[in-house]
């Protein structure tokens, strides 16, 4: 139990406000060395969890941003084709045997390590591997990831199998635009991160923005919380709340007024329709 409270404090030092549930999940990640899958709406700080955790562990953060069409060449490794060609050219006249030459150009010097391979081959300590927005990638990639997450090894035909010396702490995030496969979910610890309640959000804003006045923070959070209740095209996340409070501070507003809202609404609402609608209802 002390460990969990320690995690909360450690994250707080890194400007991340975590509740007990999230801290318990992170504790399990460290304890069981299982990947953590965090799902939730955009802008609630899913990615930040990994950043804070890496800082807390003083471990390198390796990040893989997923997108449609992400393939193994961009995610795992790729041979540096141009360099290999040059290598062949340079060796053309040398008396080395053919097998030697081949071993040379398929050596580690010619290998471009991509995030997943980097995470596996870390030398000193376990890195934090962040696989961001996994729901954007296609199912084939997910299937591949399954293999990696259970065995923590990667096979490169020309080099052999590389097995992780230090297992990375893996954090996967998803916006849930599509359901991830059950097999993948079962390999992970699961956490759902939702919009924070009023009190927590105020403390996040204060943590992030030093010197913000209590009144302004309260007002901004109350407003954003109300906005989230409405049917908007893009519901503002915590990052929007922070941006908004920051821009209000920059403009020298000490409390919310009609004018202040109109000036800065673009930092909270990111869709023209939403802005129009909210402005009309002011």
């Amino acid at each position: 139990m002390r460990d969990i409270i320690n995690i909360i404090h450690a994250l707080e030092k890194r400007n991340y406000v975590a509740d007990e549930e999230l801290a318990t999940a992170l504790f399990l990640v460290l304890k069981l060395q299982k990947p953590l899958l965090i799902e939730g709406p955009p802008g609630v700080g899913k990615t930040e969890v990994a950043l804070a955790l890496a800082e807390h562990l003083d471990a390198p953060l390796i990040r893989l941003q997923c997108y449609e069409g992400l393939d193994s060449a961009t995610a795992i490794y790729e041979w540096n084709y141009q360099k290999q060609l040059l290598g062949i050219k340079l060796q053309e006249q040398s008396p080395v045997s053919l097998a030697e030459k081949e071993r040379h150009i398929f050596g580690p010097d010619f290998l471009l390590e991509r995030p997943l391979l980097q995470a596996i081959s870390a030398k000193d300590k376990s890195p934090v591997l962040l696989i961001d927005e996994l729901d954007r990638s296609d199912e084939e990639f997910e299937a591949f990831l399954l293999e990696l997450l259970s065995a923590f090894q990667i096979s490169i035909p020309e080099l052999g199998t590389i097995k992780a010396v230090h297992r990375p702490y893996v954090i996967l995030t998803s916006n849930r635009t599509r359901e991830l496969s059950d097999a993948l979910r079962r390999r992970c610890i699961y956490h759902w991160l939702d919009y924070p309640d009023h009190q927590k959000e105020v403390s996040i804003v204060k943590k992030r923005l030093n010197g913000i006045e209590h009144q302004l923070a309260e007002q901004v959070v109350t407003w954003v919380q109300q906005l989230r209740e409405q049917k908007l095209n893009k519901t503002p996340g915590i990052s929007e709340t922070i941006d908004w409070a920051e821009s209000l501070m920059a403009l020298g507003h000490r409390e919310l007024s009609r004018k202040a809202i109109e000036q800065t609404l673009g930092t909270v609402l990111k869709s023209a329709d939403d802005i129009q609608r909210i402005k009309a209802s002011l």
């Binding site: 139990m1 460990d3 969990i4 007990e20 549930e21 318990t24 999940a25 504790f27 399990l28 304890k31 069981l32 299982k34 953590l36 799902e39 997108y67 449609e68 069409g69 992400l70 393939d71 060449a73 961009t74 084709y81 141009q82 060609l85 050219k89 954007r136 635009t177 599509r178 059950d182 979910r185 079962r186 610890i189 699961y190 956490h191 759902w192 939702d194 095209n233 329709d273």
Partner: protein, 379 residues
């Protein structure tokens, strides 16, 4: 269910029983999850009920809906504080080992096991299974109470679908076979070394989508959701043309351009006083071919007709109209909400005439059936 089904002689046993209990409730909890939970608990790391619960929650749940249900099931199962109970037990063990008989071992289920009704209550109060159910419900059979929920659900699902469709078009340049001719041409600059490998990629298609929605009386219950569906598609297909018809044809593409669906619905209602009255499918499709055919039936578009096929006009008209559309379209798809009924047969006057011209004939009666169309539209 009674206590004997989940006997427990300690925290580890209790966790095993709890995972069995969850499994019975439809959770996908395997042996590995149970092992991990036992391991965490056995290390004595979770001396507090709250952390104990959160730990089990992150290990056993896979979706936010399951997390909601878990809260209630956890309370049902662990009527007493499990950790506290365990501690007491071990104290007891040390003090009066002789007194300890297996029959008096405290059951972790507490005083009484959960009854069937209590379990039912957990099921019905959760959004998860309800949403799951609603996805499959026929639009015409939705109770008033669920209508709002269904509306929200449909909006969310359609939005997600549009997002997925948009993303599908982004092809990676690194895929595809090597384009030999281009690669060799480019290699000349490097003295014949193929330094850059150029690959063939498929250009993402920009197909035009034409939607014809039946808004006659018989379609009343469906047309609202189908219109929402059309709005969601608009986000993905730049070249989307939408029409509504019953006794006459009205083009609603412009109305959809306003991104407010409510506004669009009001506009359509104002334009079409025939909203929810008899149907002349053939005549309307004929109007479409005559009036817009030259302009829109180019570049082999995808034509989707959303109608129940209950024709009150002349079926011969429908025959010729569809024949002409078929000749110039890439595909003609008919979505019929009535097809959701397993006993349905396309015997209606309009439907039987139309069938030979259709590439696909699908149902469109529930959210799930509409979402299935994503595959087809993504191509």
């Amino acid at each position: 269910m009674n206590e004997r089904q989940f006997p427990a002689n300690g925290l580890s046993d209790a966790i095993v029983s709890f995972s069995r209990f969850l499994r019975e409730q439809g959770f996908n909890v395997g042996i590995r999850e149970t092992q991990e939970a036992v391991r965490v608990a056995a290390d004595g790391l979770l001396q507090h009920k709250f952390y104990f619960k959160s730990a089990l929650k992150s290990l056993f749940c896979r979706t936010p809906e399951e997390r909601l249900r878990f809260e209630k099931l956890f309370l049902l199962f662990w009527r007493k504080d499990p950790v506290e109970l365990n501690q007491k037990r071990s104290e007891k063990n040390q003090q009066h080992k002789a007194n300890q008989a297996p029959s008096t071992a405290p059951t972790l289920l507490g005083e009484s096991p959960p009854t069937e009704e209590e379990l039912e209550a957990v099921k019905s109060t959760t959004g998860a299974s309800a949403s799951e159910q609603l996805r499959k419900t026929d639009f015409s059979k939705v109770a008033d109470m669920d209508a709002q929920h269904l509306e929200e659900l449909s909006e969310q699902l359609f939005r997600e679908m549009a997002l997925r469709l948009r993303r599908r078009h982004k092809l990676d340049a690194k895929q595809g076979a090597i384009h030999l001719r281009k690669t060799i041409r480019r290699s000349i600059g490097f003295g014949g070394e193929p330094m850059q490998l150029l690959r063939k990629t498929r250009r993402p298609g920009r197909r035009r989508l034409i939607l014809l929605l039946d808004v006659s009386g018989s379609m009343d219950k469906y047309s609202f959701y189908l219109l929402r569906f059309i709005c969601a598609l608009r986000e993905n297909f730049r070249q989307l043309e939408a029409f509504v018809f019953s006794t006459s044809l009205v083009r609603i593409t412009a109305a959809l351009q306003e991104s407010y669906l409510e506004f669009a619905l009001a506009q359509i209602a104002a334009q079409a006083d025939h909203w929810s009255s008899g149907t002349k499918i053939g005549a309307c499709l004929q109007d479409f071919v005559d009036g817009y055919g030259k302009e829109m039936l180019n570049g082999s578009p995808l034509v989707v007709v959303l109608s129940d096929g209950l024709e009150t006009g002349d079926p011969a008209l429908l025959h010729t109209a569809l024949q002409r559309i078929k000749g110039r379209a890439w595909k003609v798809v008919w979505l019929n909400p009535l097809k959701g009924n397993p006993n349905y047969q396309p015997l209606a006057k309009g439907m039987s005439v139309a069938l030979p011209f259709l590439d696909e004939f699908e149902s469109a009666h529930s959210l799930e059936s509409l979402l299935k169309l994503e595959e087809m539209l993504g191509r």
